[in-house]
């Protein structure tokens, strides 16, 4: 099968056209248009991208298999964990968010759950202490900031 490269080629061709069109829509720079302006370089890139995507559509390479079933699910979980990590980093604080994110990733990669979350917790605490005391950089403490006052 050679579908992957073809689809990617089409997507990139669409991108090249949209990008090239976008470049023609720039407002005229202050002081009037000259022979070269902000749109020159993007136009060149758009042409190069369009030509190479056309080549890919015409002469695609053989496909690599996409992951299926459980593995695909694991990948989606991993990406969701990373997004959740970003979301929770500030409200929950670095240590708790790291405990959850690193722990879940270790667990999903095959570590025993307890060891996985212990790894996450230890990593979070160590890096937090390292950053706060050795490097003098503040990482968010989040809900754990109640401990700070005491």
């Amino acid at each position: 099968m050679t579908l992957n490269d073809r689809i990617f080629g089409i997507l990139m061709l669409v991108l090249a056209v949209a990008y090239g069109w976008g470049a023609t829509q720039f407002p005229e720079p202050f002081g009037g248009a000259e022979s070269v302006g902000p749109e020159t370089f993007p136009k060149v890139i758009a042409v190069v991208l369009a030509l190479s995507s056309l080549y890919l559509i015409v002469k695609p390479d053989p496909d690599n298999a996409w992951p299926k079933g459980r593995i695909a699910l694991e990948l989606i979980i991993a990406v969701l964990v990373l997004i959740a990590y970003t979301l929770l980093l500030e409200p929950l604080g670095f240590i708790l968010a790291t405990l959850l994110a690193v722990g879940t990733l270790c667990w999903r990669m095959g570590a025993a759950p307890v060891r996985a979350y212990v790894t996450g917790g230890v990593a979070g605490v160590v890096v937090y202490l390292l950053f706060t005391f050795a490097l003098d950089l503040a990482l968010p403490l989040g809900v754990l900031s109640v401990l700070e006052g005491s």
Partner: protein, 507 residues
Amino acid sequence: METLGYLIDGFGVALQPHNLMFALMGAFLGTLIGALPGLGPANGVAILIPLAFTLGLRPETALIMLTAVYAGAMYGGRISSILLNIPGDEPAMMTCLDGYPMAQKGKAAEALAISAIASFMGSLIATVGLILLAPLLAKFALTFGAAEYFALFVLAFATLGGITGKNPVKTILAAAIGLMIATVGIDSTGTQRFTFGILELYEGIDFIIAIVGLFAISELLFFIEDRAGGGKGPMVVNKLKLSWKEVREIMPSSIRGGILGFIAGVLPGAGASLGSFIGYTLEKKVVGKKGYFGEGDPRGVAGPEAGNNGASSGALVPMLTLGVPGSGTTAVLLALLISMNITPGPLMFTQNADIVWGVIAALLIGNFLLLLLNIPLVGIFVKLLSVPPKYLLPIVTMVAFVGIYSISNSAFDLYFMVAFGVFGYFLRKLEIPMVPIILGLLLGPEMEKNLRHTLDIADGDWTALWDSGLAIGLWIVAFVGLVLPYIVGPILRRRMQAAAGHGNQTD
């Protein structure tokens, strides 16, 4: 003898205690990064860049540390080649051929020590080559005008895939994507381009975020897909018994490998993989029937190891003198320079002489440190190597998060990094190389500046781009670099595979 004076000044910079300390730290981390499978040198350096920032390191210190990481990674790559027959990175492939058989014969410690010595020789030769060649090339590069620079950038992209690269069109496509991302933001005339009114995009997309996402996050996803979290069993290394005679015996091989590697590193499109390949093939030819290559000949370990370390130091020549990197890792080092507000290129040798020569001196010192680290401490690296990826990769990911977050304290950047990671995963599935994207991101602004400059002077006449003999020469090399992989690529690839396959059969 002006070079010598600069070099002595360079030692003055590199020998400052805190620089020495960071060099040692970098050498240690680098060896570790090189040893761990799936954490290649480019990846490792990329993850450490944000840390260099957050530590508030001075440019020369940051560069010294990361150059030490770079050099160390080349040492580390051999550990898993020798002990497990799994190359830690691509250039270490040839080390498997004789290193693993040596380990099977109970001579793992000797193989590791020999490879450390050969790596040292290779780097040393190449660093001397760098000291001799770089100032000359920098002086020559001062004659370059805008048109020549534009052609040079095209050349860099054209040869990036390397002679052994698979599909040059994919390299171009990737470069175009990188250049496109680089145009996002406000340009030099104050025009907003592709910002869609999003405030965070006004200053453009930070290439460090893109690099860390493309490398580190996509690596995590690949490990999950391969279900490779388990890791390997414990490894044992015997007690080292290496005589001076054995060390003397591998010296000629190391010297030959180092010189060849350096040349391969300097030339565009060759790189460390080719350096180690040529190093190995030459050794086999020179030694001939007297050798027992493929069955654990120490010279078969020394040749390619010296070759790949020589090539990695050689690759610094175009990066430092022209500002045009020829490999993924040197591209990442260039990212560091640019983000430290140092304009790479020939002027750096006069304007930032202390930094350039400090780094070169640090490279020499770093090699001694690495040799000292690698022979007695190899046991520690072997132990760390048996930490399974299922613990290691999540922690590496966390380090990437912390690094990026601490640059600007913004969650927006982290989403961007994750998005680049997912994008990188798809690109790797499609076998679109990521290094041209990064190079495009880095060189985009300079490339556009030079194009505009050329066209402005010539009043919009595009032929000005190939108006001088030098520029025409660069365009021709670029063209050859693009076409050559089609002709010689398949042959070279087959040979490398045949050599590797032969080695595996003799296991």
